[in-house]
Structures are given as C-alpha cells and as structure tokens.
Subunit: 98 residues, 2 copies
C-alpha cells in the first residue's frame, strides 16, 4: 500500500490571535474529519511568539482525490470562513527521507 | 512524560534543485541524528512543483535545550553548509489540537 499523503498547511497568524485562530481551525477540522479519506491531523503551535509561522497543521489523507473532493464543497467553505484573513500555504507532500 | 518537541523547518527551494537540496539536507541530518535528544525526522517533499514550500522537515527532539545545543556547534555549521542560499524557517512547536 502506498504511504498516505500528507497535507501540510503553514499559517501566518499574529501570536496574539492564537486563541481565535484555533477556534476557527477547529471548525474546519470538524468538517474535514467527517469526509472520506481523512486519517488524522495535528495542529502545531510555535513555542516562540516570534516564529515566522505560529501554526503548522500536518494531516494525513488516503488520496489526493479525496482531499481535493473534501475541499471543493460549499460546506468546506462555510467551515473555513473564520480563517479568511490569515495567509496560508497548503500543499500535499510525501515523505522522501527519514 | 511531556510530549516531545517538534522541530518544523520550512524550506524555500526551487523545484528543479530538489535533488541537490536533498543531498545537502542528508548531511545535516546525519550530524543531527548523532546528537543527544534527537528522536526522529521526516523530510516531506511537495507533490506539485508550484507549491510555496517544496520541502518541510518535521523532526522530534527530547527537549529544546538538546536541540539548541546540537545546533550551536561548529560541526553543525559544517554539516549545514550545503543549505546556505535556501531561505528556511525553523521553529520549535508543540501539538495543541488533533
């Protein structure tokens, strides 16, 4: 079986908006975890407030098609509305070295 | 026991320099994995060449002190010389939501 795909999403969030961001992220997570292909997710918060990226999400999905299908629905857009305004950099990855 | 610390390093690498970057990254990894506190590492490569960040490394370390000690040696600088020229964004993180 192929390794699961890894979705990594790098978020630009001011440190003082961390709580508000987490609440908004949880809404999107709750929607995504109900979708086919979702495996797991882990939201990472930087220890230092001066980090370039305060939050990085690392999630696993079965296939790229399932991830793309999950994010091309109006329900997804509704769930993600609280994240509008935070620049984000989502991409699909595979582990190439350990 | 506390959760291990997560070092996430986001690299800006042109897609066409991927092989050269991986070879340079492996030299740094080989040094770091010999250091106290190192647990594991996984270098993620983007599937799409147009991703904002072609590479993201996710590593686990026992403590921040061990990670910082490992990266403040002249051996570390020697091992990382091949990565000079690639903008990078390393920070220490903790998982705050799953």
């Amino acid at each position: 079986m192929a390794e699961p795909l890894v979705l990594i999403n790098v978020f630009e969030v001011p440190a003082e908006e961390a709580e508000q961001f987490i609440a908004a992220w949880e809404k999107m997570r709750d929607y995504l975890k109900s979708q086919p292909g979702y495996i797991d997710t882990a939201l990472h918060q930087a220890i230092a407030p001066e980090a370039d990226f305060q939050f990085v999400n690392v999630a696993h999905w079965g296939t790229a098609e399932e991830f793309l299908a999950a994010t091309q629905t109006s329900e997804f857009l509704d769930s993600a509305v609280g994240l509008v305004g935070y620049p984000l950099h989502p991409s699909l990855y595979r582990v190439v070295r350990t």
